[in-house]
């Protein structure tokens, strides 16, 4: 007896058999990646090209309105370099990146080594230490802003009780401390992710290597330096590049605590570009700063990819 099929099933069969052999089989992987490629070209590649180009045009609200933007060559860059705030923001960015990357990697590695042990209660500590990573960034930043409150903030009270300060201090309102105060929040927020990456890497180190090192009588530090670190060096480098990228792109912490102030003391290039673009509405100048940041990040990304490939080749 013939099995009866509905037209719908028939259609389904034809549709799926189209890709079974011949030309259909060859094009179907392309069909599957097509949506992703289209979206990425539309929302990443095209805006990117546009963004870089607009660094060389006079893009302001006025020219956007009339639709007539003129090519101005390097004029936007010249105007950026002539702004004294740019120099300060560059210096602040350097301080901000170095402090964040060094502290997050150092603390992240220490925590990963500490948590990579089978001792009672380790799950409890691990979950707790991941909390900063899980709390939404805006919520975390606003909480820290509240803790730094100059008149009733808990940070002041705790430091006072520990005898570190003599009186309450406006951490975010003082040009000497604002950048560092924000940096501490950023380190607090970013370290658990570094810890996770390094912990994952540590778990891949074969136990036999560690045991062999212990048997040869290697002491703690030497074991760390000669056995463990070489084993996780690629992950460590990847964590370093990722931390670098995330720090350069960390807008929320600075914007929601100080908006780059007071007196640009916590201004980084990102927030400066943002102000050029969306406070002054000089999008050309904003694009010039953003393009410079982009070049720095591309260099970092290239290193990142090289490292991944080196690792896949291992």
């Amino acid at each position: 007896m013939m099995k009866r099929t509905s037209p719908r099933q028939e259609l389904k069969k034809t549709w799926s058999s189209m890709f079974e052999t011949g030309r259909g089989a060859r094009i179907y992987p392309y069909l599957m990646v097509l949506p992703a490629v289209l979206v990425v070209v539309g929302v990443v590649v095209y805006p990117l090209v546009y963004g870089i180009l607009s660094a060389f045009y006079d893009v302001t609200l006025r020219t956007l309105g009339s639709g007539k933007m003129n090519f101005v060559g390097l004029r936007n860059f010249e105007r950026v370099f002539a702004d004294p705030v740019f120099l300060q923001a560059s210096w602040n960015t350097l301080v901000w990146v170095v402090l964040n990357v060094v502290a997050q990697l150092g603390l992240g590695l220490a925590l990963a080594l500490l948590l990579h042990r089978a001792i009672p209660g380790i799950g409890f500590f691990r979950s707790g230490i991941l909390v900063p990573w899980v709390v939404p960034s805006v919520v975390a930043v606003l909480t820290w802003r509240w803790m730094y409150d100059p008149s009733v903030g808990i940070a002041n009270e705790l430091l006072l009780r520990l005898g570190i300060i003599d009186d309450y201090h406006p951490w975010l309102g003082d040009t000497a401390t604002s950048l560092y105060a924000v940096t501490i929040e950023s380190i607090w927020k970013g370290t658990p992710f570094v810890m996770l990456l390094l912990l994952a890497a540590l778990q891949l180190v074969p136990r036999s290597i560690l045991e062999a090192a212990s048997m040869d009588g290697a002491s703690g530090w030497r074991k760390l330096w000669h056995v463990i670190l070489p084993q996780i060096r690629v992950s460590f480098a990847i964590a370093a590049v990722l931390t670098f990228i995330l720090t350069v792109n960390n807008f929320n912490a600075i914007w929601l605590m100080t908006e780059g102030g007071p007196l640009n003391s916590s201004e980084i290039l990102f927030t400066l570009a943002y102000k050029y673009g969306f406070k002054r509405f000089d999008l050309g100048m904003a694009s010039a700063v953003a393009t410079m940041l982009f070049v720095g990040l591309v260099i970092a990304t290239t290193i990142y990819l090289k490292l991944i490939q080196a690792r896949e080749g291992d």
Binding site: V39, L114, A201, G220, F251, L283
Partner: protein
């Protein structure tokens, strides 16, 4: 005797191989130092979170009292009531929810198909495309911000939730595809071939054999997108202008006043905004951790 055995403390301890990876000190001292350091790290990590909750359940006069008490004296839920009675907060939450669901569904659909094809098939560009995706993730948002602004303005999509969807895809999709390819490349494709030999079509083999095995990866990617969309602030604060279209993070930052801020209500809002993320995280902890560790590092 039956009862006694029930109440006996479970003595079964799985013997775990001990690996000490740090300093080797005399045992009791080493143990003490380890736990002391762990406690310091724990308190440092959890304290701000504790402080947010502790602030959210205090009365107004206690919040602005100097010196502040570490532990609230009188617990009140007035801040939560103040927050939830207004229609605004619900509006923000609804906006966040709509946006999160749309972006998650779109990114998962697109990245599953692309990731699968890249992992499974050799075709022109099957090596370059994933790298291209990874590069796509690295672009500084500030560089894309300006073209997005110009484009959204041109399309008349400024100040709209649907205008944010393509913007968010730009910042999620490349990494989703990259991670998904990583997950799919761990699936043993010999099983798919076996299913095809048994007469399955491509689609059936994919749907019934491959997809169930890739489920942990899909869950990890979907969760990653959900969390990031829910938390996103920069794009939303730049492109959303009117109050009723704000998302939760935007609404929270809007509670910061020029001269005074009601920190009790703000912290209550923080707890409510963080709650779904924390719940998702603690249910999926293992998936996410292996997803981030395995996917991002191994590719």
């Amino acid at each position: 005797m039956q009862i006694a055995s029930i109440h006996e403390r479970p003595t079964k301890r799985v013997a775990m191989p001990r690996i000490r990876s740090g300093l080797s000190l005399p045992k009791p001292l080493g143990k003490f130092l380890t736990y002391a350091t762990l406690w310091v790290a724990f308190v440092w990590s959890v304290f701000p979170f504790y402080w947010m909750i502790a602030t959210s359940i205090r009365g107004k006069d206690e919040i602005f009292q100097r010196p502040p008490n570490l532990v609230p004296h009188a617990i009140t839920f007035q801040n939560y009531i103040d927050l939830l009675v207004g229609a605004q907060f619900w509006r923000f939450a609804l906006n966040s929810l709509i946006l999160t669901i749309s972006v998650t569904i779109i990114s998962v659909l697109i990245s599953v198909t692309a990731g699968y094809a890249m992992a499974r098939h050799r075709f022109k560009g099957s090596v370059m495309l994933p790298l291209f995706m990874l590069y796509g993730q690295m672009f500084p948002p500030v560089l894309l911000l300006i073209p997005f602004y110009v484009q959204l303005r041109y399309l008349g999509w400024l100040d709209s939730l649907y205008g944010l969807i393509p913007v968010y895809l730009s910042y999620m999709l490349p990494l989703c595809v990259w991670l998904m390819r990583g997950f799919f490349s761990q699936v043993p494709f010999s099983l798919e071939d076996a299913a095809r030999m048994d007469g399955c079509t491509r689609w059936q083999a994919f749907w019934k054999v491959i997809l169930p095995m890739a489920r942990p990866g899909i869950v990890a990617v979907a969760t990653w997108v959900m969390i990031h969309t829910w938390n996103e602030f920069l794009y939303a604060s730049t492109f959303i202008l009117s109050e009723k279209k704000r998302t939760l993070p935007l609404g929270l930052s809007g509670l910061i006043g020029q001269y005074t801020t009601d920190w009790g209500v703000l912290m209550a809002g923080g707890v409510i905004t963080a709650a779904p993320i924390l719940i998702v995280f603690f249910f999926l902890q293992r998936h996410l951790v292996s997803g981030v560790g395995g996917g991002a590092v191994k590719g």
